[in-house]
Amino acid sequence: MPSLRRINAIMFKELRQLARDRITFAMIVMIPLIQLVLFGYAINTDVRQVPSAVVDLAGTAQSRQLIYDLEASQVVQFSHRFDSVVQAEQAMTSGVVAAVLVLPADFQRRLALRQQGVLLQPVAQWITDGSDPLLSGAVSVLSQLPLTLQGIDSSNNPAAVMQVVRYFNPEQRTAVNIVPGLIAVILTMTMVLFTSAAVVREREQGNMEFLITTPMQPLELMLGKIVPYIAVGCIQTGIILGLGHLLFAVPLPLHWLSLLVVTLLFILASLTLGLIISTRATTQLQAMQVTVFILLPSILLSGFMFPYAAMPLAAQWLAEVLPATHFVRMIRAVVLRDAQWWTLSYDVVYLAGFTLVGLVIATLRFKKRLD
């Protein structure tokens, strides 16, 4: 039977040590703060002002009008003009521009014939740097704009066959999607690293040899180690959501209890993962390396940066193993879609199960022996 007194002893010792470790203490606040500002401002999937070149072989009023209209869309910015396609291609190869608009010498004639329905071929050409699909895709949208002899006529846009209504983020602001997901990334990094390092540090500094000769039980040590970091995780979540609301107008959740439930589940799962690592790693450096090994797929496969649905099936299976994938799904549901925690039963059960199984594994793997 675990002793509450011993769990308390380890917990308060951990809190005291944490409060006296100024760098770690500062990191608890600074990591979410700095990353939120960096990611919130820097990550933007709404592509704007793509550096572009134009090769206007027509040189007519219509071609110039088209160039002005395209620039007014703010998707591209024509920073360079070339007399030949070859020159434009060289500029693209050297990375000066990412897209080139080529207007042929007979642009006006082609445009007129197309308007009469005689010509079905395109009247101009976009050459884009396809090595960046996101950027290239944004420029491709420009090829669909309705073009007339008077330029781009947005009022002449034919009625859409299907209407799109955007729930939860009608303005399609990237920050709204990024900020809740950022909690998953930051908690994965800090929770896993803090717990794994906290146990390994005891071993490295020689405290463990004393501890394991006392009546302290592995489960008591594990629980005493993770409880203080639950509070740390909650503080970090509060910083990210609060600042995300202030700086990026990310909505606050309607159901705070659901936020608490899903966040606690993820914090516990991440802390348990840290404990498992600590039973294997012998130095703090090793603990850090394993944390990075887990952090990278948590960023790339969890759906935080790239849509989960777009990933191949094998990658989706791998992503399902990571606690971050389940949390990204749940936190976005709770914060952005006002979902209640019990409607997310699959992810809730997975994280609860992950924590329980992880705690059992960590406790069994932790040996009160040196061999």
């Binding site: 002793s3 007194r5 011993r6 308390n8 002893a9 010792k13 005291r16 040590q17 006296r20 470790d21 500094q205 020689g206 405290n207 463990m208 040899e209 004393f210 501890l211 394991i212 000769t213 006392t214 009546p215 302290m216 009160k368 022996r369 040196l370 061999d371």
Partner: protein, 310 residues
């Protein structure tokens, strides 16, 4: 006072192919201060860890305070105090916080804990340091704090792994006074050391080398039983004399001590003084009683090989 608290038979521990403890038999009575003396790597710490249940023996039997190891290691943990070679309390906690933590771990009640801690702070002269962080203490203070922590729950058995390796002679003396107090109160103490003066203070002593026990008795008995004869030589060119004698198979060891050369001769020599006089005519020599260092030299390393040869 004859109750045996530690008993091992054929205790053996391998790390891979390396034999750290080889067929060790021990029998330690209650209340004794029993020392392990030996060079680094001789198996002192491994033996300590085997006796605390921290390591599992590869062969042999271990019984500590009536507990069979490794099966009953958990039950034993409540009855022992262990002081590791390296300071193992928390540098960034104060003296008081460290002791409070240990008291909670050992399950002292909220009433018992302040009384016992105050008692220990007074006993180990740490009252004025209770708010100082352990990392800021001197070597001697750290060692006293570690001993206070190891004895907080008043264990009947104390295992101290090279407890005075980073401590000045005055603190060492004071430390040993406290050990004798504990021993008087009935605590059995197992202490490993490589200092001769410390080893000489023990009630019983095992000299270890390469994981094997080379000798086991009280220091006085060991000195009395040493069959090798010891001589002190005086004269000029002591270094030269030492170099001349050392390779001889009859000479176990030579060591210059100030203006004298201490020579250990093999027990097989029938008339050692005459033999030595023949080797070094005209040199002033005096036969003296063996000390513990002589015993150590004769039972370990080259000395052991030469003693066995003769």
């Amino acid at each position: 006072m004859t109750e045996i608290v530690i008993e091992t038979r054929g205790l053996t521990k391998y790390f891979g192919d390396y034999c750290a403890v080889n067929n060790l038999d021990l029998s330690i009575r209650r209340g004794a201060i029993y020392g392990f003396l030996g060079p680094n790597g001789c198996g002192k710490s491994t033996t300590m860890r085997l006796l605390t249940g921290l390591l599992t023996p590869c062969a042999g039997e271990v019984r500590v305070l009536g507990n069979e190891l490794p099966q009953q290691a958990e039950a034993l943990r409540r009855k022992i105090g262990y002081m590791t070679q390296k300071f193992s309390l928390y540098d960034n906690l104060s003296v008081m916080e460290n002791l409070q933590f240990v008291a909670q771990i050992y399950g002292l009640t909220k009433r018992q804990s302040p009384q016992r801690i105050a008692q220990l702070l007074a006993l180990y002269h740490l009252e004025d340091k209770q708010k100082v962080r352990a990392g800021a203490l001197s070597g001697g203070q750290k060692q006293r704090l570690a001993l206070a922590a190891a004895t907080l729950h008043e264990p009947p058995l104390l295992l101290l792994d090279e407890p005075t390796s980073a401590v000045d002679p005055e603190n060492r003396r004071e430390f040993w006074e406290r050990l004798f107090d504990l021993s008087d109160a009935g605590t059995t103490i197992l202490v490993s050391t490589h200092y001769m003066d410390e080893a000489e203070r023990c009630h019983g002593l095992a000299i270890l080398e390469l994981g094997q026990k080379r000798a086991d008795a009280s220091p006085q008995q060991l000195m009395r039983q040493l069959k090798a004869s010891v001589f002190l030589l005086q004269g000029d060119n002591l270094r030269q004399l030492g170099k001349q004698l050392a390779p001889m198979s009859e000479v176990i060891s030579t060591a210059q001590i100030g203006n004298t050369l201490r020579v250990l001769l093999a027990p097989a020599l029938a008339e050692p003084q005459q033999w030595l006089q023949r080797q070094l005519p005209g040199t002033s020599l005096q036969r003296v009683e063996p000390n513990l260092e002589d015993v150590f030299v004769a039972t370990t390393g080259v000395g052991y090989a030469k003693s066995a040869q003769n």
